[in-house]
């Protein structure tokens, strides 16, 4: 029977390992905060959205749609389409997370591209509280950045906010490099998926849909490319 100190350490370790996501989210959500204000949302609505939706791409899309006059139904349908990929991510990472004190309905809330990527590529089973730590610190960054964005966004120098735009993509690249390791085949899978996504978007497919198709296409191709032991470890 594990003692409380060990549990707390695991959670703290998750908080620490999730810091890169905190930073990336913090920068991007500042931009979200600003954008939502200029699209006609109130301070509280912007913060509420970040707190309970917690999905960057769809949030940006929603405020931009609202600004161009789209109706609630259209925005909700688009949000659903863009966020369908979370089914795949939850299915994938669910196997890796050990059962524990944090209930599934809580763990599920924090599955995002970034927490998923970070968690998936860590070797071995993830302790329940550890992954929750990653999710919690990520969520905190997202919400705090939104708060800063709606309150202070106007005074951040453009050079700073533009440079930070690379942050999240840099994180994806690093995760991919570290996760691929020496497996050239895993890199090929990523390139195939990136290629499919680029092609589909070039053909005019909406971002949310193209990402889902690319992920599925790449993973399917992986069945013929990867050897059994090369997938992200459980």
């Amino acid at each position: 029977m594990k003692n409380t100190t060990e549990y707390n350490e695991t959670f703290l370790q998750g908080l620490r390992d999730g810091l890169p996501v905190f930073l990336g989210y913090f920068s991007i959500s500042i931009a979200f905060g600003l954008l939502s204000l200029s699209s006609g949302f109130s301070l509280y609505e912007a913060i509420l959205m970040s707190m309970i939706v917690f999905a960057g791409a769809s949030q940006f899309m929603a405020v931009q749609m609202a600004a161009s006059g789209a109706g609630t139904v259209e925005i909700v349908i688009s949000t659903l389409l863009v966020n369908l990929r979370h089914i795949i991510m939850s299915s994938s990472i669910k196997e890796k997370i050990a059962s524990g004190p944090i209930p599934p309905f809580v763990i599920a809330f924090g599955v995002t591209d970034e927490t998923f990527s970070l968690g998936s590529l860590k070797k071995g089973t993830l302790p329940n509280r550890y992954f929750f730590g990653i999710e919690f610190v990520s969520w905190s960054g997202w919400v705090l950045g939104t708060v800063v964005g709606v309150l202070f966004g106007g005074i951040i120098p453009p050079l700073v906010s533009t440079s930070l735009g690379i942050g999240l993509y840099a994180m994806f690249v690093v995760l991919l490099v570290l996760g691929v390791g020496r497996s050239f085949r895993a890199l090929i899978v990523a390139l195939i998926s990136g290629g499919i996504n680029t092609l589909l978007q070039h053909l005019g497919l909406a971002g949310g849909l193209s990402i889902v198709c690319a992920m599925l296409g790449g993973a399917f191709a992986a069945l013929f490319i990867l050897k059994e032991e090369e997938g992200a470890h459980e």
Binding site: P20, F41, S42, E45, I52, V53, F54, A55, A66, T72, V76, T79, L80, R85, I87, I88, M89, S90, S91, S92, E95, P104, F105, I107, A108, F109, V111, D113, F116, S120, L159, T162, S163, I166, G167, Y169, A170, M171, F172, V173, V174, L175, L176, V177, L178, A186, V189, A190, L191, S193, G194, G195, N197, I211, A214, G218, A222, L226, G231, A232
Partner: protein
Amino acid sequence: MSEGVILIIAMMAVTYIPRLLPFVFLDSERLHPKVRLFLRAIPFAALGALILPGGITAVENSIPVSVAGLVVAALAAIKSRNLLLSVFASVLVVALLLYLRDKGFFFIG
């Protein structure tokens, strides 16, 4: 309840339910090996799709600077194997390139 709050709650529902369903309904023990390999390949496929083509235009108005940022991230990752350091290096290089560009040092923008 304002129209905005209704929208936000609806967005939450359509975002949270896809995240939750697999945790509630999927029994991973009985999955076919090929299905498991498929699911374990998803992280690589996801990262590939997330990086391309989005990362190429991550920095507004400059594809070359964005690509430079991604390349620096990759090289830093290979060298340091450290996530935070590599991301920081990438942001720093991008900031530097943008600063030089805006000061007129070169026309890569």
